[in-house]
Amino acid sequence: VSKPERLSPARRVLGYEQVSLDPEAGTAETSYDAVEDFTNSAGIIQGGFLAAMLDSVMGTALMAALEPGTFTPTLDLHVSYLRPARVGRIRAQGRVRHRGGSIGFVEGELRDEAGELLATGSATMKIRRPRTRTRPEPPLP
């Protein structure tokens, strides 16, 4: 069950939709719209916009089990581009590899509607909690 959340302008531009969320497993599924505005001169989606989608899905996975008001600014993002991405719907999966007290390590991947793997990513994110902690989070693998 997805909790209602305020959508950031960046997510609106990317056509973000939350498909599923599993806070216990630390996984998230989201989808995005790759539009003409994101294409390079060859008509392929420019890599940075795929990076934006990966950053987004990995942030969703990391935040799934964190208390509301927690921000997860990205410290480092690494993307491998496996296949050219075209205009259309992009499906994304994110997974928390490890979550410490102040740092999270996350992985993500993007697929086209046919299920072809387009890009994979990994990120290191800082966990910035709201000033007053209300409850501790359950442990993650």
Binding site: P9, A10, E36, G43, G48, L54, L77, H78, V79
Partner: protein, 147 residues
């Protein structure tokens, strides 16, 4: 840059608008500023708009990645023939400080270029000159399919 009617490099073609416009570049407010002929380093500028922000009001990292990709690609394009393309294989970005809405200045350079692979690096600076993010990229150099 050389005579736009006689493009010598892929960058000349881009700046002359000779290929279909890259809409991604327009989206991030890309503008070519200049190139140091001695070092090959390029300067390009971008505009981060409100549409690129996260809920903290800072620019989402992926849009900075798009700017860095464009900055380092510009440096490489100055060394490529018209008709060559350089799709990105790998992009690594380190986020040093939050980036705010407004203009950003990008620098890009070619670290090493082989026949079919290029290694690139670049940075993004805010208007105060503070470095907000650094990037390294590996790209494949290919010939564009004939239109």
């Amino acid at each position: 840059m050389s005579d736009p009617s006689d493009p010598q490099t892929a960058l000349d073609v881009l700046l002359a608008g000779g290929r279909p416009a890259a809409q991604a570049l327009a989206t991030i407010g890309y503008r070519f500023v200049g190139r140091d002929a001695a070092t090959g380093e390029v300067e390009v500028s971008f505009v981060a708009t409100d549409a690129f922000t996260n809920l903290a009001g800072n620019v989402q990292g992926g849009f900075l990645a798009a700017m860095l990709d464009a900055a380092v690609s510009t440096a490489l394009m100055a060394t490529m023939e018209p008709g060559q393309l350089a799709p990105t294989l790998e992009l690594n970005v380190s986020y040093l400080r939050p980036a705010r809405v407004g203009p950003l200045l990008g620098r890009g350079r070619v670290v090493h270029r082989g026949g079919s692979v290029g290694f690139l690096a670049g940075e993004l600076h805010d208007p105060d000159g503070a470095c907000v993010a650094t990037a390294s990229a590996t790209v494949k150099i290919v010939r564009a399919p004939r239109p």
